[in-house]
Amino acid sequence: MTQRISKYQRFKMMNPIIQFFKFIYLSLKIMIVVASGHGGTRVEKK
């Protein structure tokens, strides 16, 4: 195994307090991607 993720990065990835805030941040960010809607890509024929 090559340790590609440093101890500090791993600490941040697994620390429940940091991750709690990350959870809120990610939930909001995902909601923005979802809520920014969807639509067509073609120009309407008049």
């Binding site: 195994m1 340790q3 590609r4 697994m14 990610l26 939930s27 995902i30 920014s36 067509g40 890509t41």
Partner: protein
């Protein structure tokens, strides 16, 4: 009064049925035909396959819910389509066969005014010789039954490892054109973490085998992601995770035959190779269901409805990769010949792949098919339902709801290990799903910022939260419709 017939009760069929029922008055009939008596939340199969969830936690029976909500339900499978009716039946219908109970084996002509084909994929294990879930030491996690079985196989293997046996585990794609690499990616990381939890990790060599030409392609041509303050390519992120977890990889591999503990494959270099294993989970090819269609004179018109999957408003004219465009992708999922037929979710025929197609030196296509995950399946089903509702209410065809995969974002929360404090998840969002190289020419066709990746415990919590939220929504509990697709 209109009758809407929905084939399939997976993510897209169930989303369509529930929205139609909520928004249409009771004079209109909503009928679901599906062979499986249960609704299953497929993304959580990963956890069933590592023994951390029971299959009963990810499913519920459809019949009582549909009865309570006034949705008709027939536990049957569609066989053939008669979009003009026949000599004796003036209305369009789908010939279906009951799969259980007193009516088992009986066929019925189920008529409709509007038809939603949401039958998803056929899990085409037969396309790979010897790839049979539960045989030849290969497993699948594509259904809860398969996932249960996979856990039995893995549990037995872990017991052997505890007695000192060294093993090789192979996870990835089981066909040169398989899709759904994301599910295999989740499973390999979850298996790796479970082996550590059982303190047998050092007894296993874990190998990723895939038809992708690069890690992190996921059938989406890879992605350029915002990752913290950096911008990473998806292959760099996956490579970092695999190296960190000690997972080896074989890429550009088209698995073509399975024998007991041996996977045969051809690679992009044209070499024929084998890989041995003690446990394998390989995603099969996905194909259409081989449905047939007939006109009112009972002449075969299958090519008007199907191209493997169902033909919709996509541009299917063959073109080289360089000429592919987001505009080729469908917007309303309506069949061009029969305008009362729609196919959301996985059931529609994509115009082409998303990843650049690749062939081996022998001419074998070794390239992932385009994935269609849960979120776009739900969104496309809802927009189809909304267009049908508008059409019924206004009395004239309305197709104002549109949702091309080239103008839609998707979130994919890939579990990387289970556990409330030890779990992990790789959260990835992409916008748009199909890259738009005209709009975003410098960022691989996607909008940076809206295309991002994150790794950590929060990803596990998110995946778990989505599990509970989507099962709540699927059970149509109070205010379920406030939860987005």
């Amino acid at each position: 009064m209109s009758k809407i017939l929905i084939l399939g009760a997976g993510i897209s069929g169930h989303v369509a049925a529930s929205h139609l029922r909520r928004k249409l008055s009771k004079e209109h009939e909503v009928v679901v035909v599906s062979p499986n008596s249960n609704y299953q939340w497929i993304p959580s199969n990963i956890w069933v396959g590592i023994g951390r969830m029971k299959s009963k936690e990810i499913l519920f029976p459809l019949a009582p819910l549909y009865k309570k909500k006034g949705i008709g339900y027939k536990q049957a499978k569609a066989i053939s389509f008669f979009p003009e009716g026949d000599k004796n039946e003036s209305k369009p219908y789908v010939l279906s066969e009951y799969v259980t109970g007193d009516k088992k084996g009986q066929q019925e002509k189920i008529t409709y005014d509007y038809l939603i084909n949401a039958t998803g994929p056929k899990l085409n294990f037969e396309a790979t010789e010897g790839l049979i879930p539960g045989e030849n030491k290969t497993y699948s996690v594509c259904t809860y039954g398969h996932a249960d079985h996979a856990w039995q196989g893995l549990k037995a293997l872990i017991s052997e490892m505890k007695t000192g046996k060294k093993v090789k585990i192979l996870i990835g794609t089981g066909h040169s054109s398989s899709t759904c690499q994301g599910a295999a990616f989740e499973y390999i990381l979850n298996v790796e973490q479970e082996l550590r939890r059982h303190k047998v990790r050092e007894m296993a060599e874990i190998i990723w085998i895939s038809n992708e030409h690069k890690l992190g392609d996921f059938g989406m041509d890879g992605m350029l992601l915002s990752y913290g303050s950096m911008t990473l390519k998806s292959y760099e992120m996956v490579e970092m995770i695999f190296e960190d977890r000690g997972i080896k990889w074989i890429l550009g591999a088209g698995v073509n035959k399975i024998e007991d503990g041996i996977a045969h494959y051809e690679n992009l270099e044209g070499a024929y190779k084998t890989e041995t294993y003690d446990f394998a989970m390989l995603i099969p090819a996905f194909s259409g269901h081989d449905f047939k269609a007939f006109d009112k004179n009972e002449d075969d018109i299958t090519e008007k409805l199907f191209k493997g999957f169902m033909i919709v408003d996509a541009d299917y004219s063959p073109k080289p990769y360089e000429e592919w465009s987001v505009k080729d992708w469908p917007e309303t999922y309506q069949n061009p010949t029969y305008q009362n037929i729609f196919a959301p979710g996985i059931a529609f025929a994509p115009p082409h792949a998303i990843s650049k197609p690749r062939k081996s030196k022998n001419g074998t296509v070794i390239s992932p098919a385009p994935p269609r995950t849960g979120m776009p399946s739900g969104i496309t089903a809802k927009l189809v339902a909304d267009n049908i509702i508008d059409t019924i209410k206004s009395g004239k065809e309305s197709l104002s709801h549109k949702g091309s995969l080239g103008n839609m974002g998707a979130a994919c929360i890939a579990s990387a290990g289970y556990g409330f404090t030890q779990g992990s998840g790789v959260s990835i969002t992409t916008y748009p799903i199909v890259p738009d190289y005209e709009k975003y020419p410098n960022t691989q066709g996607r909008k940076l910022g809206k295309t991002f990746g994150e790794i950590g415990l929060a990803g596990h919590w998110l995946k778990l939260a989505l599990h509970y939220a989507f099962i709540y929504k699927a059970k149509m509990r109070p205010f379920w419709w406030l939860i987005p697709e």
